[in-house]
Symmetry: C2
Subunit: 313 residues, 2 copies
């Protein structure tokens, strides 16, 4: 089986490639990234179309994305083009040259927008009401996928993926940023914790459970359907800080960093994974405490690696 992964060298891509190989050691995985030997600008439709037509993958997983909500407020245009426009190019490339390819369209829980307690847990029927540039880009992506299924007959399965957690995620994302700071605190390199709004509640899923769900959806998801990929439970950032305090044995002072606040923010986001469970028999397998310990250990190891080389240390 041949797979094409956009954003293959990103955080999720590495885990996905590993999961595909675990399931099918003879799988051929075509990695498409903006940088590296196979550097390809996904904003260049003709280039994308050429690669897709040549490779004829059975499965295409579109992970390439500027997936930071915060960054989308800094540069809405870059966020939009590097989410929606690159996805549209991928779809158009498949339509033109490889119409049998099954596409996994990875969306976001941010598509739901501001929610009230009565909406929880969020299921796939809920109205989409995006409140950030990033969320708008993801909604447009999902709508485009729907149009290509219904109007052009493409085979697309879509997700609304909730917050990921796992070793290797950049510190643009809240848990990774917090775990990194705890590692710096443990190494004596900082004396406080910079935080944004700590009362917000999110649904965190280990990236290894995420990619397991993606493989199941490629194998058995229903064409044209969208599935939440989430844990089904909510944790506040305060909860996460508490768990990281327990793991690290540290209780740092908190300082609110204005750069970590956003113009519009969801108070809480918790998803229902009932549809995904029912469709493919998937269930989460990694406890959040395990995920947090792995992420903390990842940053501790990075601290240990980098500290000897620093000037003045």
């Amino acid at each position: 089986m041949k797979y094409l992964i956009t954003g293959a060298r990103g955080f999720v891509g590495g885990y996905l490639a590993a999961e595909i190989r675990r399931r099918d050691p003879s799988a051929k995985i075509i990695a498409v990234d903006r940088t590296g030997d196979s550097g390809l600008d996904l904003l260049d439709l003709e280039a994308v179309a050429s690669v897709v037509a040549r490779e004829q993958p059975e499965h295409l997983i579109h992970l390439a994305s500027l997936s930071s909500v915060g960054a989308s407020w800094q540069d809405p245009v870059a966020s939009f083009t590097n989410n929606t426009n690159i996805f549209l190019n991928v779809l158009e490339a498949v339509r033109r040259g490889s119409a049998k390819t099954r596409v996994l369209s990875v969306g976001s829980s941010e598509e739901y927008g501001i929610v009230t307690a009565a909406d929880l847990p969020l299921n796939e029927e809920r109205r989409l009401a995006p409140v950030s540039p990033y969320a708008v880009a993801r909604v447009a992506q999902e709508h485009l996928g729907d149009v290509y299924v219904r109007g052009f007959g493409l085979d697309i399965v879509a997700t609304r993926s909730f917050n990921h957690v796992g070793p290797g995620q950049t510190d643009q994302f809240v848990i990774s940023a917090l775990a990194k700071q705890f590692a710096e605190l443990a190494a004596g390199k900082r004396d406080h914790l910079d935080v944004g709004t700590t009362t917000v509640v999110r649904d965190f899923l280990d990236v290894r459970d995420v990619v397991n769900a993606y493989c199941e959806l490629l194998a058995r998801g229903t064409r044209g359907e969208v599935y939440n990929v989430c844990s089904g439970r909510g944790l506040s950032i305060d909860d996460v800080i508490g768990l990281l305090s327990t793991i690290s044995g540290l209780s740092p002072k908190r300082v609110t960093d204005p750069a970590r606040l956003r113009p519009v923010e969801n108070a809480f986001v918790i998803g229902s994974n009932a549809k995904l469970r029912a469709a493919v028999g998937w269930a989460p397998s990694i406890a959040l405490e395990t995920s947090l310990r792995d992420v903390y250990d990842y940053w501790r190891a990075r601290e240990a690696l980098t500290s000897p080389g620093r000037e003045g240390s």
Copy 2:
């Protein structure tokens, strides 16, 4: 008062400029178009930002668009970039350099998608469910406007404008295409009527009533709100053909032209204009029969002008 109109030299732009001048003879109208002396590529963010920052218009009306649903099925990428991306560039230009400008975001009834009889007439609360590339682009545009209002404090009023009718519209649009064919039939230049699906029902509003609504919304619409701009009544394409038969005195044979059929099509679209009426006191003033006669006369006059120069005639 200074106005900046994108797409000013298009079909609606001409009528809008005339309406603005009728209301305010001393209005300064900056016309931004892709072609002409002031040629500006709206896909070039820096160029757009430079113009907006220099001009500081009180009102910006964004009419530039690839507004054909049919064409969006032929080239989804062009439709998306020339609707959503150019609008995002306009918003970003206003945010960076002219944040007090009131923006009129012109959307489309196509945003509603497939509807059932129970949904009619469509009001602004109905869920958006776009089913064409063009409709997806318009929904994304509206969502982006909402994000720029809520997240960046911009002053945007949005519309969902239903089908327009009026002299000067290109024959990409159904009524203009039919009226043109009736004019050709009257001139003896064709012997049948090419049609698509004639049972579809649409809500047609004269372009002069459309631009009147736009001026009222600029003056008195509520920031962050979206308003249907429509007649409130539905006509089938069969009805339109019947009226054009009466106007022209012709009853041509109909031939279904596959090029006029679409992969996914709404069966009927009728809007409610109650919100617009209540907000600004607007009401339609031109009967559809009058609009159709004007469009037919427009094409008859064009036929009269162009026929002597044709080879072989």
